[in-house]
Amino acid sequence: MKSECSGSNRGRVLAWVGAVGAVFLAAQPASAADTVKIGASLSITGPASFLGEPEEKTLKIYVDKINAQGGVNGRKLELVVYDDAGDANKARTFATRLVEEDKVVAIVGGSTTGATMAMVPVAEDAKVPFISLAGAIVIVDPVKKFVFKTPHTDRMACEKIFADMKKRGLTKVGIISGTGGFGKSMHDECVKVASTSGVEIVADETYGPKDSDMTPQLTNIKNKAGVQALLNADFGQGPAIVMRNIKQLGITLPVYQSHGVASKSFIDLAGPAAEGVRLPAAALLVADKLPANDPQKPIAVGYAQTYEKETGKPVSTFGGHAYDGLMMLVEAMKRAGSADPVKIRDEIEKTKGFIGTAGMFNMTSTDHMGLDLGAFKMLQIKNGDWTLAD
């Protein structure tokens, strides 16, 4: 390799270096000293986009609203959002980027449990508060100092469902669950709490995330002697297919779904087959049907109206989790009176009586979710709409 660069070659190489450098410089975020940055890494595209999309929209709408009212502690908020597409490795990179590059004071998001768990070490190492919007209990159990979450856990969903079953005298349950992260985690939690809830699981079937027909599994459950109720633990499209298959097979057992299907698109996908299904979910979905003295009513109605007006799409509980996370964070920043991440964390942990779309949050040093079972409402689908079951 003789390297005697001719003049034109050297010029070209320099031009290349310059161009690459320019791209890097362009990628540097503009620094604005008077704003407070809040970061988010969400699954805006990909298989979990039904979570990330409403979450992103919610964060944007409310950050704009807060800024229009003068910001927090006299400083405007700046939202930095990245799309991790549900990929844990990407989420990890974006979390690093948020902390190291964008210098955010707090992170909201991590739409899925996998993405959240990949981001946790970054937040912990950098001592930046991190409010996850994902479901599984592993996120806050064991408690991690800087990690919080706003959605109910799957264990709570199981407890709520089993309590409702027992009340109706249904104690022999057939479970059909998806093998994706959500379904698997919820299935395991349900198996764990079944015995203490006085419910017996007599049939246990699974299906893959891309399966388009669950009749064989449902036939197995149907043929099992003594099954009194059916529970489907999954989110996304799977549950809608399960509902249609149940209808086709003429199964008349009472059916329970999880909080993972708490969006209008489930009713649309499943159609009339979803009629009569019960599921635990946040009061948000039935905001206008709540009694007038319910403290959650103004918050839930306010959020639902704002979201539907701004986006033109029906509200889902997933966007509500983002609302809860952002508002809880903003309240904590106001109480801390500063944008210091560690002080904000301390104040998030002291959150008491905060009413969000998911219920009333009471954080403690041993409970970084802060919701109790009362936060869940048992809903039933009637005439293509959500109603309160009890």
Binding site: S6, D83, D87, N89, R97, T179, G181
Partner: protein, 311 residues
């Protein structure tokens, strides 16, 4: 001599000089991701570029390496570095056993067989929850060496960079060794290579085992860098990403493997600037590169330079 040491030296120089541009741990992480992906791609290039065999299941070995680094220390108390070695041995064993029958296949059939292998690994990692933590993955411990806890993107930048240079050196040596020349010969024509006395089946198997070990070590390093592993690392999309990196950078080129990895790791980070259009832009960019530089970025550019020099 220069042709042999040129690529490793160039890559080493980039690894040493790049941090001058870095301003934060995030940059070091991106750098480390490039070196780790490049290592896996160099392994794939031994199989695809040198021996001319297609693999759509390379991420399977990447995943095995990653999970070996996470599972063995967490469940069986093995030292993380020993776990890395165990993962590499396991991958070699799997590649050896599986490679014997499937490397008899050619072209599309081989591609489909390797695809199945990769998917099988991803399925096991997803479903064996007791061992792997299931679809949400599991944490990987941070290794320590005599009290020194190895963590942080900067540390892993230097470790992965060093391992990459070693990997390039070994791959270079393999290429000019009799085994490597045999691989090159069967790339051109298996029949001709056979008549010249090359043991075609054995040579392919060697390439497959070597590529698997590269993938495994890269996977283990990713697990340590992230501190968390998920099954999507062994998945089909990851395999496709590796093949894209290899083809984009230039099949058979060491520097090309690194360039391909750099393009697919760095560009998406730069494109976040364009929000909704980032995937579109990435797609357009890859198509443009493949149309304008069909032999891959590095071979196309170097032949362009060579032609200019002659003028």
């Amino acid at each position: 001599m220069l042709a042999r040491l040129g690529p490793p030296a160039a890559i080493a120089a980039v690894i040493l000089l790049a941090p001058l541009l870095f301003q934060s741990g995030y940059h070091f992480r991106i750098g480390a991701l490039v070196w780790i992906n490049a290592l896996a791609v160099i392994g794939l290039n031994v199989l695809m570029g040198l021996a001319g065999q297609v693999s759509l299941g390379h991420a399977g070995f990447f995943g095995i390496g990653a999970y070996a680094a996470a599972v063995l220390p967490a469940r069986y108390g093995l030292h993380p570095l020993a776990a890395t070695a165990a993962g590499a041995v396991l991958c070699a064993a799997v590649a050896f056993t599986v490679g014997r029958p499937i490397l008899r296949l050619k072209g599309h059939y081989l591609a489909v067989a390797t695809l199945g292998l990769g998917m099988l690994v991803a399925m096991v990692l997803t479903n064996e929850v007791w061992l792997t933590g299931g679809p949400d993955g599991m944490p990987a411990p941070r290794p320590d060496l005599g009290g020194w806890r190895i963590s942080g993107p900067e540390t892993w930048y230097w470790i992965s960079g060093t391992v990459l240079v070693l990997g390039v050196l070994l791959a270079q040596n393999l290429r000019i060794s009799p085994a490597g020349l045999a691989l090159g010969a069967l790339h051109d024509s298996e029949v001709a290579a056979g008549t010249l006395g090359v043991d075609v089946a054995r040579s392919k198997l060697v390439a497959f085992v070597v590529s698997a070990v590269y993938g495994s070590v890269a996977g283990s390093m990713l697990a340590f860098l992230n501190g968390h592993v998920t099954p999507d690392r062994a998945g089909f999309l990851q395999s496709i990403e590796f093949v894209t990196m290899a083809v984009l950078g230039g099949l058979g080129s060491m520097i090309g493997s690194v360039a391909g990895a750099a393009v697919l790791v760095v560009i998406p980070q730069v494109l976040t600037f364009f929000h909704e259009y980032e995937h579109l832009m990435l797609g357009v960019l890859v198509i443009l590169i493949m149309v304008l530089l069909p032999s891959g970025v590095v071979p196309a550019l170097s032949s362009l330079l060579a032609r200019r020099r002659k003028e």
